[in-house]
Symmetry: C2
Subunit: 141 residues, 2 copies
DNA sequence: CCCTTTGGTTGAGTGACTAAAGTTTCGCGC
DNA sequence: GCGCGAAACTTTAGTCACTCAACCAAAGGG
């Protein structure tokens, strides 16, 4: 572990801020909050159980309840009961939801506009550096 | 502008997420929210005007009013009237505030624990890449 | 001196989030 | 097959961050 200059830490901060702000803006163009867009992004094909979503999003189940309720109210998502376990409600994305999700993805220009400033080789370099930084990241889940 | 792989975008996402989460945790160890810690970090020596803070933090003035009120209630910050312009209130950090700020800084282990995983040369590399990515970033302020 | 602008606060409203207390359903042990 | 604890989700209550619109007070220029 080497010394880390404040300058680098500051650059990282700015980078993170820019990324966050860009995603916020992208979600907003579709009339969503970042959290809502993020949830939409986590919906696989057949519909995920609320509990699974809470686990993936690292937040409370009741939070997911509310997020889903808001999205459902806009018709972007539907709660479908699981046929084999009536406790479970699976969240599935609607056609409108898929459309909105596409809008958000296209509006999120950070990867193309920012990361795209790097050459292919630089992107590989960045990828390697990030991999190293995030190295032992998931021995906790 | 080259193609950007989803894999790199995902790595960046994870990196940003880890950074955000780390700062949240650091603030929480001092009983603060990230926004409160962030405000504390923006307090220069002699005290900054509310409006300047709002501009720096890129948020509404009334938001700053509330953040400062909460921090003031905890004695971490004080509103001092400007002697030359009675409209202006300058926010200055108290001794307790400085202590809490130090706590947050020390608890924010992301730079040392994560960026510190890189060698000095790799850090320079990362710095250059970030500089390129953030290149034309402030022609809008 | 009005009159406008500037600096800050208040109030109303939304959304994200958490913690605690429900409700319904499942499934196990007996 | 019944009772009971656990699982899955919801409800309620509360906090915080944030925005917008309306507001008050001081400054400053005609």
């Amino acid at each position: 572990m080497t010394e880390v200059t404040d300058a680098l830490a500051q650059q990282v901060w700015d980078f993170v801020y820019a990324h966050d702000a860009a995603y916020d803006r992208a979600a907003q163009t579709a009339g969503l909050s970042a959290a809502q867009a993020c949830l939409l992004e986590h919906l696989a094909g057949d519909g995920r159980a609320m509990g699974d979503l809470a686990e993936e999003l690292l937040c409370d189940a009741s939070n997911v309840t509310q997020l889903v309720s808001r999205l459902e109210a806009r018709g972007l998502v539907a709660r479908v009961p699981d046929p084999t376990d009536r406790r479970i409600k699976r969240v599935s994305i609607t056609t409108a939801g898929r459309r909105v999700r596409r809008t958000v993805r296209q509006a999120f220009e950070f990867p193309s506009e920012r990361l795209g400033l790097l050459t292919e080789q630089e992107q590989r370099q960045l990828s390697e550096l990030l991999a190293k930084v995030l190295a032992p990241d998931r021995p906790l889940g």
